[in-house]
Symmetry: C2
Subunit: 142 residues, 2 copies
C-alpha cells in the first residue's frame, strides 16, 4: 500500500491553500498595520457585540490566553475597549471603538478582494460545492 505523493494529500493541499490565502491577506493588511489574528478578533467582535474575552476566544477557535495576547495589541492600538466592570461573573464586555470599526471596514474590503482572487473564475456552483465540501470535512472531524 503506497502512500500518495505529499503534494496530492488532502492535508497538504488544505494547509497549502490556507497558507497561501493567509499570506496574501497578511501582505494586503500590512499597510493597515493589522494582522490576520487581529482582523479575526475585530470581525468576531463585530458579529458578537459586547462579547467577553472568553467568548471571543471560543468564536475564533483559540484559547483565552492566546486571545489575550491579541487583545493587548488591539487595546494598544485603540481599536477596542474592555469594560472595567464585569457585566456578570468575571466576564468584561469588549467593544469596538470608532477607529476599530473603520479599520475593520477597510480590512474587510481588502480581504474580500483576496478571497475573490483566490476563487478566480470559479462558477457559483463550484464555489458552493467547495464550501459544502469544506463544511463536510469540518463536520467529520468534530
Amino acid at each position: 500500500m503506497s502512500q500518495a505523493p505529499t503534494g496530492d494529500r488532502p492535508g497538504y493541499l488544505l494547509k497549502r491553500a490556507q497558507q497561501a490565502l493567509n499570506q496574501a491577506c497578511t501582505d494586503r493588511l500590512r499597510p493597515l498595520e493589522l494582522s490576520m489574528s487581529q482582523y479575526a478578533v475585530l470581525r468576531a467582535l463585530d458579529d458578537h457585540p459586547g462579547a467577553s474575552s472568553a467568548e471571543l476566544a471560543r468564536i475564533t477557535f483559540v484559547t483565552r490566553q492566546s486571545l489575550r495576547d491579541v487583545l493587548g495589541g488591539l487595546r494598544s492600538a485603540e481599536l477596542v475597549t474592555v469594560a472595567e466592570q464585569a457585566s456578570t461573573g468575571r466576564a468584561r464586555p469588549v467593544a469596538l471603538t470608532t477607529s476599530g470599526r473603520a479599520k475593520l471596514r477597510a480590512a474587510e474590503s481588502l480581504v474580500t478582494q483576496v478571497e475573490e482572487e483566490m476563487l478566480g473564475d470559479l462558477s457559483a456552483d463550484q464555489r458552493r460545492y467547495l464550501a459544502d465540501l469544506l463544511h463536510t470535512c469540518v463536520g467529520n472531524l468534530t
Copy 2:
C-alpha cells in the same frame, strides 16, 4: 452590497477546516511527542533526502529562521542530523536518523487516519474534485 455571513465566507471555511485537521492531527501525534511542524519537516526530508535547511524551508513554505527553530527540536530529539561540513557553499545537508524514519512512519500512519476521517464517506470523485478546487485556489493566489 451586503457581506456574506462570516461562517460562510471561503476564507473562514478554509481556515476552519485546516484548523480542525491540524488540531486533530496534533492530538493524535501528542503521544509520539511530535508536533505538526516537526512532522512536516520530517516528511519534507523523507521526500528530499540530504536537503539543506534553506531547501527544507522552501519546501515547507516557512522562512529559514522558522525552520531553524523546528530543526533545533528535531536535533535534540535525535530525529535528524546536520552535517558538520557544507557540501557546497554554506549549505549543510540534513539527514533523517533511524529513529527519525521510524517516528515518521508512525506519524504518517496516524495522520493518514485523520485525513481519512476528515474525508469520511466522500466518493473518489468528490475527493478528486476537492483537491482540484484547492489546487486552483492556490494557483490563483500565486
